[in-house]
Amino acid sequence: MNAQDMAKTKNIPSSGAKNNNQPLEWARDIRVNAWHDPVMLQPEPMPVPPLGKSVKFLLALLALAGLCFFGDRPGVRSFSIVFVSIVLEALPFMLVGACVGGLIEVFVSREHLTAHLPRRPWAMTCLAAAMGIVFPVCECAVVPVVRRLTGKGLPLAAAVAYLLGGPIVNPIVAASTMLAYKMDWWVAAIRLLCGYAIAVFVALAMGRLFAHRSALLVSPGMRKHAQDDQKTAAHGIGCACCEHGAQLVPTGLIGKLVGAFRHASDDFMAVAHYLVIGAAVAALAQTLVDRRLFLGLSALPILPSILMMGLAILLNLCSEADAFIAASFRGFLSLPAQMAFMLTGPMFDLKLLLMYQTVFSKRAIIALSGLILLSVLVVVAGLEMLGMGML
């Protein structure tokens, strides 16, 4: 039962009503009453878990048991090492991303955010796609941040632009790409420019496609609910706990910080298992896929690029390290094929596909995935037509 429902039952004015200047008191009353009211505390009848949930649980249990029983086999050992390393590499970034998201949730108001954004949608999108230059993030950290920003009312196009552009258009990625390609600055320049163009295009297309329907996970009702809640508590859209009003954040700096970390912790718990599943699939691919299979394809026109896009989706590498893997295909695959790998990975891989489920609706994820893959393919085909040969 959320705060508004409780307010209805108890005839307490909702947060959207006129007496907004004393919202904390009524909500605190609700909490106190909830802990003492035997009717409110009466447990609901235990629902029978649907079949899908049981299957997921059993699969997770089987995976754990399988690892324990077959852990000493060489293939499983390789899998374990790669799996752990992907999780360890991404974990700090995700934790920091969750903290940034929590701080945004508590300290940045919707009004403050909208007041500082350009008015024109295309200008906002172009700016958001380049924000990685100022706030460099990798793809693991950007999802919790975008999750909170969309909750604060950041338009879809701008959110998608930052989500896709941030992990590519940033100085760390530029430096690592130059390093991987023996300081060939123009490879890094092509990567950043193409990444920026794709981010802006996909973002604008998503904005247009979903102009009249919600692409975000939350319904308009929840959005209104979150707007109301902003005046009473720090919870908002995308809040993983979603028990608005039942748990209030104290005011003052310390209280706000506590609230920010509570939100961050909720965000982390909501997204972390997707990271783990993505990392497991990537580790499996790394253990099973032989990279030499890709070497005999250099003579074919577009197939190597498509296969390299597939490899990027499977490997789930960090955008700050994938250039080194792409560079290991130099001499065997064309630059456009290597570029396909470096452009696809930071925008769309298995782990991101799962993590996007915490931000977007299924329809939006399908549209987003299709647009990203199509744009990368068009850009890569364009590069091939421009005659970019072997490096």
Binding site: A63, V82, L91, L95, S265, F294, N316
Partner: protein, 239 residues
């Protein structure tokens, strides 16, 4: 009874976060994290550890969350990396991973110049083992000199067919960020290594380094005169 029933709801998050904190903390003593990450990642690990501690504190003070089948599944999924961490402790990528990752000598950016970095020059002048990656990066600089390298052993039929029946590969993995993006650096060794040594054995081989020119590419090649099995290096990966 109710207290017992409420225990998972009250403590599953702090316990899970605590387990993750312990796992991360256990990687710091003895620099065990180097089995998975670059040395510089220690800063991020410590940062992650601090954030996890704050999250535990926050979870302890938070209102209990429901513990249903969904949460149980989530807990199991989040335990998987911890189980793998326990199983993979002390192990490194081996010849099995080398076979899947090796795309040839282009992977390590072999350079035709003879300019080495200071660290490599100091190592080569002091009679110590030459880092295997240096032989791959600067093959011309070491040409016709006597070198000693340490690497893992792999016998590849394709290489044996190309360079001779007695040849095998000594390799080390070079990490850019983490083991997932590690690329093998390899040199080809002929003679000197007994056929019965098993795959993935650590070997210290000495001999004359004579890179071969194959299709405009310098292939690092060692004519080994002496080889012995070596203990696993303190840092099995190169950076």
């Amino acid at each position: 009874m109710k207290l017992v029933r409420d225990l998972p709801a009250r403590f599953w998050r702090p316990l899970l976060l605590g387990a993750w904190t312990c796992a991360l903390g256990s990687l710091l003593p003895g620099r065990a994290y180097l089995n998975y990450l670059r040395p510089e990642f220690v800063v991020l690990l410590v940062l992650g550890l601090l954030v996890l501690l704050v999250f535990i504190f926050s979870a302890i003070n938070a209102r209990p969350k429901a513990f249903d089948l969904d949460q149980a599944t989530r807990v199991l999924i989040l335990i998987l990396p911890l189980a793998c961490l326990c199983m993979a402790r002390g192990t490194t990528l081996d010849a099995n991973a080398f076979q899947h990752r090796w795309t040839g000598m282009a992977g390590i950016n072999g350079r035709s110049d003879t300019v080495m970095d200071d660290e490599t020059r100091n190592a080569s002048g002091s009679g110590e083992d030459i880092p295997l990656i240096s032989l791959c990066r600067w093959p011309k600089a070491y040409a016709e000199s006597t070198v000693t390298v340490v690497g893992m052993l792999h016998r590849d039929p394709k290489i044996a067919a190309q360079f001779g029946a007695n040849t095998c590969v000594l390799f080390r993995f070079v990490i850019n960020c983490c083991v997932a993006d590690a690329v093998p650096a390899a040199i080809i060794v002929d003679n000197g290594i007994p056929c019965d040594w098993p795959e993935s054995t650590w070997v210290r081989a000495s001999g004359r380094f004579a890179p071969r020119n194959e299709s405009d590419r310098l292939i690092p090649f060692l004519h080994a005169t002496r080889a012995k099995q070596a203990p696993k290096p303190q840092q099995p990966y190169l950076y």
